[in-house]
Symmetry: C2
Subunit: 382 residues, 2 copies
């Protein structure tokens, strides 16, 4: 545990939608309840309730953004370098909140949750949710926390999608947005990769139409993860990290086990993922990502989607990110500019691909810190 | 059948390695025999035997490069726009040969062939073969055809790898090389995609350790093909072709069947592939592609690999090809130039990704035709 860690944090739960009139309406037309939201908070909410920042996580993330869950917890939260005392999301200054998305498998209600109506897991009877639904659930959490307006919303990848959706759906509740390595709509190439990943899961006999219990579809989920993992890296970062290095000898095995370091690395990533992630949640969350298209709102163009948005934006992309490429961030910047929104934007030079938003702390951290300080100044002194 | 088709062609077979002293030595140390080579020829070998061009096919290609197999055959060979009377590979001038690679499943000996020693299919007892092995088998075919030296060798993708390998292994037999959308070694990103594709096949219970008979691992093979297919296209071509169009309605289904046109397109491609390609061959051929590294020869650098090469080269790549990107062709050009090899090279502006070598006939055809005419002139009048 390093000196400027937030230390030990305790996950919290907020449950709503227990009564019929409190259910969460979903984009698919169904209603969901009860809904549990697993969340964590760091720092203190000030008396004016003006210093709250909501961090939104990506596909495989969770509410545990920083710190540790126990004294002997060896692994810090997924954005620990960004959140803590004196860090870009400075917990001495801000009240930082992060919640697990609905549809997920890290505490919030999702397909692996028990449906109280049947006493069984939802599995595929869980409704297909959208980014809009995730945000609608987070809005309930905001009210529960007594917050009327976020100082800022920040997220990378799918987290950025949620931040954009917040700005469009609840403009009055959003003080500013930091949209990092994200897009207003994923490309058909991204949809295609997600489709193949879901096919790998659905083709695993252990998936059993989504009804697996003890034997989980680990081969299918591992394959999906390995595929996705390639899209998070870049040609250049893979050349730098692996090249054509062999794993354990100086000659080919002439069989079909792994020979190359990159092959054994992927296998390891796939295996690890299976230990912590639910296969059905993988289906639901990737579907939500594919469905996300802000320009579907209004009359189909992106600028129209932001017509009620006026808060300042920070839009950051990374040169080697080919999953959420810089040109998509540029489209976002242009759509915001058409609405006279104040946008700071930057394309950070990085070889790390999409994963750069989890790795380029030095550059990204400075941008985030400056942006947060500026919006905070306006709230406190403006 | 169009007017300048080569017309009806008859596949031919050449079998060697029937006796112990005629077996094909392989890079893995084993020997293979008997070996059948399925091939087709177009045009006539001239009296000087100086007009023969060998075309090498890519991963899923075969010997049927042009023309039709019968009067009611609705589908021409895979490079029919390039090979025929008056076409870039002009069959009025050249004797064009194409053979199915060993390890394949379209007539040449591969894992789905019967091992005469057991009376059973080889399956995974088939030795792991390399690009060098494929070329060594083609060299036997050349001798069988009474050809001492090819006027030219031409291939795209894995076909280009074979052409490069020919130039290095049999410099005396190679008059010129056309290396299209190819590389001297595939990147770790490419190795990674191949690994995931093979995992999808191996994870299919129908694969049965490679011993499938009637029930083939169609789900695994289809998944592998869908994944590979994405890498043959480009972000731009997918945006142009599919965008975010839905397949059959104007709203999301909110289930996990296909919604997007790109999803149903991939499913279709996967299903079609399963009808014509063997799953074990897919393992063997992708492994050969991953193992291919010309720079492993000599002292590990690419220029050294070409030290005995002196014939002219045409090296063509395509701007949007991210599987065999232009920078890899450039490395090839530089390594050849270091050996004072005469190289014509071009990066063709195209949005079609790796598949451009099968689609950009107008530009590519002109280059190929000019290059072939020039090398032919030297042979006939020089």
């Amino acid at each position: 545990m390093n000196g400027n860690s937030v230390g030990i944090v305790k996950p919290q739960d907020f449950t709503f939608g227990i009564t019929e009139d409190d259910l969460l309406p979903l984009d698919c037309g169904k209603k969901l309840g009860p809904v549990n939201i697993r969340f964590e908070t760091y720092g203190e909410l000030n008396a004016e309730r003006s210093n709250a920042i909501l961090i939104l996580h990506a596909l495989s993330g969770d509410a545990h953004v920083a710190g540790y869950h126990s004294e002997d917890d060896g692994k810090a939260g997924w954005w620990d370098d960004m959140v803590g005392p004196g860090k870009p999301f400075d917990t001495l200054k801000y009240f930082v909140v992060c919640s697990n998305v609905i549809g997920g498998c890290s505490g919030s209600t999702g397909p692996s949750s028990i449906n109280p109506a049947t006493g069984q897991r939802y599995s595929l009877s869980f409704p297909v949710i959208t980014i809009g639904d995730m945000v609608r659930a987070q809005h309930r959490l905001m009210k529960h926390l007594g917050i009327e307006r976020w100082l800022s919303l920040a997220g990378g990848s799918m987290g950025g999608m949620q931040a954009l959706q917040w700005a469009v759906d609840y403009p009055e509740a959003v003080g500013s947005v930091m949209a990092i390595a994200t897009t207003a709509r994923i490309s058909p190439q991204g949809i295609a990769f997600d489709w193949v990943g879901r096919e790998a899961i659905k083709n695993d006999p252990a998936w059993d139409g989504g009804n697996y219990r003890d034997a989980i579809p680990e081969k299918g989920l591992s394959t999906a993860r390995m595929l996705a993992h390639i899209t998070y890296l870049s040609d250049e970062s893979m050349l730098n990290k692996f090249g054509r290095k062999l794993q354990s000898s100086d000659h080919y095995s002439y069989d079909f086990d792994y020979d190359f370091s990159v092959e054994s690395y992927l296998q390891y990533q796939g295996r690890r993922f299976v230990e912590r992630f639910d296969a059905n949640s993988y289906l639901y969350i990737t579907r939500a990502i594919d469905y996300f298209d802000l320009s579907d709102r209004g009359n189909g163009d992106l600028a129209a989607a932001f017509r009620n948005v006026s808060c300042p934006f920070l839009v950051v992309s990374f040169t080697s990110d080919w999953l959420f490429p810089p040109y998509q961030s540029q489209q976002l910047v242009e759509a915001l500019a058409e609405n006279h929104v104040k946008v700071s934007s930057c394309v950070i030079e990085s070889s790390y691909g999409h994963d750069a938003f989890l790795l380029e702390y030095a550059t990204l951290g400075k941008m985030v810190a400056d942006f947060a300080v500026n919006v905070y100044k306006k709230v406190t002194h403006g």
